[in-house]
Amino acid sequence: MMAVELRNITVDYGKYPVITDFSLTVASGEAVLLKGPSGCGKSTLLHVVCGLIPGIIEADVGGEALLFGENVRDLDVAARAKKIGIVFQNPETQLFCDSVEDEIAFGLENLCVPPDEIGHRITEMLDLVGMADFRYASPKELSGGQKQRIVLAAVLALDPQILLLDEALSQMDGESKGVLLNHLCTLRRQGKTMLMVDHDNVLEYIASSIINL
């Protein structure tokens, strides 16, 4: 069964279609990189995959988006959060808690993970993104790259089956990018499905296929 299946997707925000009749299949464990110029609809596609379009973002949508054979529109919030994790472009609007620790705990608390387990996952994720020293820091005090690392940690903590990355490493320095790319490689080897959008060529190293829009 395909992890992600887009069938004849057309998205129109009102003036003109951003995406027209686009189809894509991503097998389980595959890492697909979407490339293309700004405004070509890369982020829009990710929003369609995770059900934000037309759920929260208003747009006329044609076609179907399936996750493991189920239409994304038929999934409730809990099922979606377990299946899909998305890191958006702007880290500023994804961090809203007082501390880094709370930020990672937020999603886990929503999915009723027991507190002890939450503590373990926070430690594990902070080690993973190299931010263990910032556990009690306020996200407001962090740099753009550090914020992106925290958002990534918060999403990875939920252990979603499909990971969507919308320019998720764009503000990170070279060293941080290297560490996280290594981890993304490991995730891919473990069978995590990934759909990535990036202007950089850096994610090409972990992509199993590249699609130019």
Binding site: C50, L52, I56, I57, D76, V77, A78, R80, A81, K82, I84, G85, I86, F88, N90, E92, T93, Q94, F96, C97, D98, S99, E101, D102, A105, F106, G107, L108, E109, N110, L111, C112, V113, P114, P115, I118, G119, I122, A154, V155, L158
Partner: protein, 256 residues
């Protein structure tokens, strides 16, 4: 006594007491001033930065003057202190009402400031543990967070205009108001866009996925906290009795 280590639920109770009484006192300026003095003592104990707070309170003077003049003109009471012919401009009743409104607003500001000594997470958890739906607790917390953000965006837009050579401070009031109205709409749209992005991020991380949620961080009421709550309730009872029982002082005097 109270300190920032006190459970936030105790402070919620205290703030509810001050705000309720602040609304219920309708005409008694002395009672309002007494209540305000009491709230200042508690906020100092909690570590509220009073000096910073007074800076904001100064702006309320304009409201006080406005209420005084309007009350004197539209509903004159007491002694007429200043009049234009038969039209009263300033009355003692008007001054009392102006002072009362200003004191009430200061009381509310101090009440809100008492809560700011706690991180938002502690306040949310306190509301959740007081059986408030967690969606509502987050809504309140994030709503409060957007107020300074909105102000910051407005300030940024003004700075951008100044960098382009517009000297906002030198503009006449009418032109300045027009400028603000031009800036307000894009700032509002930008704030709404940010709120939408935040909502998307929260939903994708499972917010409202299930009717209940676990809490990594929990508050535990200690015996001392319970004693403080009882103390606040007792104080509320005594202060309310003294404030609203007008015969209280006469009663004391007759006993003496």
């Amino acid at each position: 006594m109270l300190s920032p280590k006190t459970d936030p639920r105790v402070i919620f109770l205290l703030v509810i007491f001050f705000s309720t009484l602040g609304i219920l006192i309708r005409t008694d300026v002395v009672a309002m001033a007494g209540l305000l003095a009491l709230s200042l003592i508690f906020s100092a104990l909690l570590g509220v930065q009073l000096r910073r707070l007074f800076g904001r309170i100064k702006r309320l003077m304009q409201i006080m003057v406005l209420v005084t003049l309007m009350r004197s003109f539209f509903a004159p009471s007491g002694i007429i202190l200043l009049a234009l012919g038969d039209v009263p401009i300033l009355t003692s009743g008007g001054i009392a009402m102006g002072v009362l409104v200003a004191l009430r607003l200061i009381l509310f500001i101090i009440g809100a400031a008492m809560l700011t000594v706690y991180p938002a997470r502690a306040l949310i958890q306190a509301m959740v543990q007081m059986k408030m739906p967690y969606e509502m607790a987050y809504m309140v917390s994030i709503g409060i967070r957007f107020v300074p953000q909105f102000a910051q965006e407005m300030q940024d837009s003004l700075t951008a205009l100044q960098l382009r050579g517009v000297e906002v401070k030198k503009l006449k009031l009418r032109k300045r108001l027009g400028l603000y109205s031009y800036l307000l709409l894009p700032t509002l749209v930008s704030s709404l866009q940010q709120a939408k992005e935040l909502a998307m991020s929260m939903e994708m991380r499972g917010f409202r996925a299930l009717p209940q949620r676990t809490s990594y961080f929990t508050l535990r009421l200690t015996g001392l906290d319970i004693a403080k709550m009882v103390g606040v309730l007792a104080m509320a009872g005594i202060v309310s009795f003294v404030t609203f029982n007008h015969n209280f002082f006469e009663m004391i005097m007759s006993v003496l």
